[in-house]
């Protein structure tokens, strides 16, 4: 299964400038698709996950238009031809 992952501008220095990366994960979850991304571009991992393998507080991951926070986190299953987006949260006050 092929999964397209959209890379935000801030992380493209770790993907050789690519704004989207296609991966073929070993399984059918968001976590497995992202693992395939880390394998190809290791620098992205620590920007998205903390050292306890949790998605960073102000980073959102979408499958299509759904935020995985509400669909099972990294265990969210991927439909065919999925598109994953990594998006920093909108926040303010600082």
């Amino acid at each position: 299964m092929k999964v397209t992952i959209y890379i935000p501008a801030a992380l493209r220095e770790f993907t050789n400038g690519r704004s989207e990366v296609s991966v073929e994960p070993s399984g059918a979850t968001v976590g497995e698709a992202l693992s395939a991304l880390w394998n190809a571009y290791p620098g992205v991992r620590d920007r998205v996950l903390n050292e306890q393998d949790q998605v960073r507080q102000h980073i959102n991951i979408f499958v299509g238009n759904e935020n995985i926070r509400y669909t099972g986190g990294l265990t969210t299953r991927l439909p065919k031809n999925s598109q994953i987006s990594i998006v920093p949260a909108v926040s303010g006050g600082q």
Partner: protein, 705 residues
């Protein structure tokens, strides 16, 4: 129009057409040569002044004799039609040649040199192109580049006079400015006048497009394109684009004109330099496919140039870091930065131990917290793929912030410490390659009962005893002062005599909210402490603390720093109260004691004394080691103040920075500054009940690493 005669040119055929003009092939019947004639459409909104401008520009441009500039032969009017007779250039536009894949880097360099050369000639004559783009650069079959339409894109009556090639769409609705949106410089979008540097921006866009087939600042709408131009950094160009070419493009598209090349000849020279390298050594380009970069080079940022014996001040703010340079006089300052746009920089350090000249910085953003270093005063920084400071998996804890970077003993230039949030201490013994959690403190039985303060549960202060490598102190909010006597394996709370007004028990064993600890290497048994409430001194390595808030307007504050040569002289900046954490009465005053806290005096000459509701955070104050001693502090409102006479007189060095979180300073190549003062410690007092294991000098002669 076909068959008509304009001046002495007979129109032969139509070549192209766009919003403002039509271009024809014509034959000059006097000089017997083929020419191109551009006729401005009748409906173009040209008022009389616009017409005059256009004629003037065209006449000026006609003086540009250069092999890479399409020559203008004549301008005129016939029956109210304005026309321009120019050299007929037969070839393909660079836009068409770049296609979707871009050209080979050697070709881009070859064309780039010619375009830069054309711009240099025009700029020398005071002519700015204003609408340089791949669509109006034509390459002849012989590989000769011709830049079209010099000086013709001047705004005319609210419309845009397009280039004759017209092969790339001019974004509609951009009528208040001249040029083509994806190539427009930020200052032109803001409505400022275009100058030569705006052309250099466009040249950067042209080079990027030629090398990649993509525009650096894209978008589906004019708004998106404008937003990208104003704010975004283009996607990096990796192989086969050589790093040198990418560096040139980045400098051309620096947002601020001052940060770009200032002259086209500079770009030309830079392209030629890469060209010579690229042709001689095609494999020499860095192979970025081997792995993402470990270093980020800061091209579009202003850097300071550091010379031996220069004096540097490092300023971390909540939106990036700055590096200031001066000499021993400390009167004039150059400012480099901002580094790490938008990231909070809570901790910085300068490491001059051994042969190092390294700046450390912690950066924190949505993307996590990283420890980074620069060996070239900010021109490039490490950007590690994996966060170097990280909690082991079994702790179930994740790093939130790095609050403190402290150099290890002078004898061990590869050893450093980091104090982090949530409260923990990390150590490296290989100059930052590997960091390990100091378990002795992390596993302390008190840790579950430490309470986060307003700024989180942070270990923000690390103090080494230069006379005893096994002894070290840390400050934790809210946990209190802890000391180790065995190099970090075991720790004891050292808070006897320190009040904790927010606790039911006013003098608990631990739980105090310590803000900063200072130690003097000449008297390492003595410590000064600024607490959440309370100013204290200990003369016995933290065993007992005495209240020394004698004559300060408030004993609440954050920083406390010590004079490098006088262990009785200490500086603090009291704030009004816990609720109102601003200096008392809106008067910015530093307080100094010269008798170890028996009395304090305000220092205010040169500091604002009216409506200055400032706060100086715990790491935003520091002293240097020069004579007389300099003292520096930054405020939450982004002002940096300094005194080069021990606090007698103050100057505002910089204003308008983001909130200042930390300030550090050092003399370059004055070995071993930072946390280690260049003073040989005297014999130390023994801690009650402890053996005093070792005595070491804090100084070390340039040991090679």
């Amino acid at each position: 129009m076909i068959g008509e005669v304009l001046g002495h040119c007979r129109v032969v055929a139509k070549i192209g057409e766009g919003g403002m003009g039509v271009v024809y092939r014509a034959y000059d019947e006097v000089l017997h040569r083929d020419v191109a004639v551009k006729v401005v459409k009748k409906d173009a909104k040209l008022d009389s002044s616009g017409r005059q401008n256009l004629l003037q520009e065209a006449r000026a441009s006609s003086s540009l004799a250069h092999p890479n500039i399409c020559t203008i032969y004549d301008v005129g009017e016939i029956d109210g039609d304005l026309y321009i007779v120019m050299e007929l250039v037969e070839g393909k536009s660079l836009h068409g040649l770049a296609g979707e894949m871009g050209l080979a880097p050697e070709t881009v360099l070859r064309y780039g040199v010619q375009i830069a050369s054309a711009l240099a000639r025009a700029h020398d004559r005071g002519i700015v192109h204003r609408d340089l783009k791949t669509a109006n650069i034509v390459v002849t079959p012989e590989g000769l580049v011709k830049v079209l339409d010099f000086g013709l894109a001047k705004r005319v009556g609210g419309g845009i006079l397009e280039a004759p090639t017209l092969s790339f769409s001019t974004v509609q609705g951009a009528s208040s400015v001249s040029g083509t949106l994806p190539y427009m410089a930020p200052e032109v979008l803001r409505g400022d006048a275009a100058d030569a540097r705006s052309d250099l921006w466009a040249l950067g866009v042209v080079l990027y497009e030629a090398a990649s087939g993509r525009l650096p600042f894209g978008g589906r709408t004019g708004f998106e394109i404008s937003a990208a131009i104003m704010r975004e950094i283009p996607n990096p160009l990796g192989p086969p684009v050589p790093p040198g070419l990418w560096a040139i493009i980045q400098r051309c598209v620096a947002k601020e004109p001052m940060q770009r090349y200032q002259r086209a000849t500079e770009v030309q020279a830079a392209l030629e330099a890469v060209q010579s390298g690229a042709i001689a050594l095609p494999e020499a380009a860095e192979d970025r496919t081997a792995g993402p970069p470990r270093t980020t080079t800061m091209h579009s940022i202003r850097h300071v140039r550091i010379k031996k014996k220069d004096f540097v001040v490092l300023v971390g703010t909540n939106k990036g870091a700055f590096i200031l340079r001066s000499n021993a006089q400390r009167r004039r300052w150059d400012v480099g930065g901002p580094y790490f746009h938008g990231h909070s920089v809570y901790a910085m350090a300068y490491d001059g131990r051994g042969d190092q000249r390294r700046i450390w910085a912690s950066t924190s953003s949505f993307w996590g917290t990283l420890l980074r270093s620069s060996d070239d005063f900010g021109k490039s920084w490490t950007n590690p793929q994996q966060a170097p400071v990280r909690f082991p998996a079994d702790t179930g804890t994740s790093l939130k912030n790095i609050w403190q970077i402290t150099l290890g003993p002078a004898e061990e230039p590869d050893r450093l410490y980091c104090g982090v949030e949530p409260a923990a201490l990390f150590e490296t013994r290989d100059a930052g390659q590997n960091w390990s959690l100091m378990r002795g403190l992390f596993d302390h039985p008190h840790r579950p009962r430490w309470m986060p303060g307003n700024g989180g549960l942070a270990l923000h202060t690390i103090v080494l005893d230069p006379s005893n490598q096994q002894r070290m102190y840390v400050g934790i909010s809210s946990g209190g002062v802890y000391r180790t006597e065995d190099g970090g394996q075991s720790w004891t709370a050292q808070n006897r005599g320190i009040r904790a007004l927010f606790m039911p028990e006013k003098y608990p064993e631990f739980g105090q909210c310590v803000h900063k600890i200072a130690l003097h290497p000449a008297r390492p048994e003595r410590l000064f402490l600024q607490n959440h409430w309370g100013l204290y001194r200990s003369d016995d390595c933290g065993e007992h603390w005495t209240d020394i808030a004698n004559g300060v307007p408030s004993d609440f504050g954050f920083p406390v720093v010590i004079h490098p040569r006088d262990p009785d002289c200490v500086y603090a900046v009291p704030v009004e109260s816990e609720e109102f954490r601003c200096v008392c009465d809106g008067r910015l005053r530093v307080y100094r004691t010269r008798n170890a806290g028996a009395s304090w005096e305000p220092l205010m000459r040169g500091l604002p004394q009216k409506q200055a509701y400032e706060t100086v955070l715990r790491d935003a104050m520091t002293t240097d080691s020069l004579d007389p001693v300099g003292i520096y502090f930054g405020t939450r409102s982004g002002q940096l103040f300094g005194s080069s006479d021990e606090g007698k007189n103050w100057n505002r060095i910089l204003g308008g920075l983001p909130s200042i979180l930390c300030v550090r300073c050092a003399v370059v190549e004055d070995e071993g500054l930072g946390n280690v003062f260049p003073v040989r410690p005297k014999a130390t007092k023994q801690v009650p009940g402890k053996s005093n294991a070792s005595h070491h000098s804090t100084r070390r002669k340039n040991k090679k690493r």
